[in-house]
């Protein structure tokens, strides 16, 4: 198409002349090339046609409000430990003040404290799920939202998705509840099993 090195350089700018993002000298040079070279003109026409077609193509529905609600839940979960921490810190401060008073001999008995409850964390249950082929994307998203699950992998060759249950770290029964909820929706779920550890 283009002969000189300069023309080749300018030729590479044609896609951005087609999307109207070139400015200044580059835009002028690309425009001149497209006017002088029939091959460059055809190239430009092709890319403009492609751009028009790509812009008109349906990309499918984005998660929209459902996606926002899912994000909101995660944000709330991330904030919760911080808030719990603050509450416990306040309680701990009050307890410490009482201990000091006790130690001052105001009351003469021993104060014992129960060991702190340790919440098992860091582990997240994963389920293996196959969806009914005709189930709509929206229905699947709503169901995942309901069980607070997110797809972390898949689909595999057999159409199996791996779904992580977000609450499982804090609620040991969350995975079982999610599994029951999935199995109850036979209109959407073909099969749901807990993934072997």
């Amino acid at each position: 198409m283009a002969g000189s090195d300069r023309d080749k350089e300018v030729e590479q700018l044609l896609p951005w002349l087609a999307n109207e993002s070139l400015e200044g000298e580059e835009a002028r040079a690309a425009d001149v090339l497209a006017k002088q070279s029939p091959a460059a003109a055809q190239d430009l026409e092709f890319m403009r046609g492609l751009r028009t077609q790509m812009k008109s193509m349906e990309a499918g529905n984005s998660p929209g409000d459902l996606g926002w609600r899912r994000l909101q839940q995660q944000i709330a979960r991330e904030r919760a430990p911080r808030m719990r921490g603050t509450r416990w810190q306040n309680i701990a401060a009050i307890a410490a003040a009482i201990v000091i008073l006790l130690q001052a001999g105001v009351i003469g008995y021993q104060w014992t404290q129960e060991p702190p409850v340790i919440i098992a964390g860091g582990e997240r249950a994963t389920l293996q799920v196959r969806f009914v082929p005709t189930a709509s994307e929206t229905a699947i998203r709503e169901l995942l939202q309901q069980i607070d699950g997110s797809i972390v992998d898949g689909p595999g060759a057999l159409g199996v998705y791996h779904v992580k249950i977000e609450d499982a770290a804090e609620d040991p029964a969350a995975a079982a509840k999610a599994l029951a909820a999935l199995r109850a929706r036979s209109d959407i779920v073909l099969q749901a099993e807990e993934e072997a550890p």
Partner: protein, 200 residues
């Protein structure tokens, strides 16, 4: 809480918002700012991810990961790039991670990774131009392209980004973007011309 009005008209919102101001408010923990940011960028980011993944569920999951990262890391935005380039860059990294994981799984399952369309043969430009009017042909060819080629075509012709912005997102030199576009365009022309030839 429902999405703010911006979410109902996402495309203009992404261009009109003051992204840096929003990120500052998000970094301060303002959930309303996050809602506004989500409304502005949710749709273009989802489309971008989908252009590489071809799977709406995975695209929705990656979008969620991207937005969660914005919530967690808004304070890390340094202003070295535009907010748009920054968030598209995050989306790109996450998508590539997922594609790698998928390829590992495919390798374990014995599946062949998809191959890009060969672009070495000369094509009749008029055939390729005519074929761009056929949405099915264009979609078919996009689906058969490598993720890298789909990405550069999407960012150029759908998002109308400059080659400089695309280089920022891809984390590569501008020359690489131009070369990638050259090959993507050739592959698309080749594929479309072939489909036209079959129809005749």
């Amino acid at each position: 809480m429902n999405l703010p009005q911006a979410a109902q008209h996402r495309t203009p919102a992404a261009q009109d918002i003051d992204g840096e101001a929003l990120l500052r408010r998000i970094a301060a923990g303002e959930e309303g700012a996050m809602a506004e940011f989500y409304g502005a960028f949710e749709s273009p980011i989802y489309r971008f991810i989908l252009s590489r993944m071809n799977d709406p569920f995975e695209a929705a999951d990656i979008l969620n990961e991207v937005m969660l990262e914005v919530w967690r890391g808004a304070g890390r935005f340094q202003g070295r790039s535009t907010v748009k380039s920054w968030i598209f860059g995050i989306a790109r990294h996450k998508t590539i991670d997922r594609l790698r994981s998928r390829q590992r799984n495919a390798a374990r399952a014995g599946e062949e990774p998809s191959e890009d369309i060969a672009d070495e043969d000369a094509v009749d430009p008029t055939e390729a131009i005519a074929a761009t009017e056929n949405a099915e042909f264009v979609r078919h060819c996009l689906d058969r392209m490598s993720a890298a080629h789909r990405e550069v075509l999407h960012l150029t012709f759908f998002e109308d980004l400059t080659y400089g912005q695309i280089a920022e997102i891809a984390g590569c030199p501008e020359g690489t973007v131009k070369t990638r576009m050259f090959h993507a365009k050739r592959a698309m022309q080749h594929c479309l011309a072939k489909l036209m030839g079959r129809r005749e």
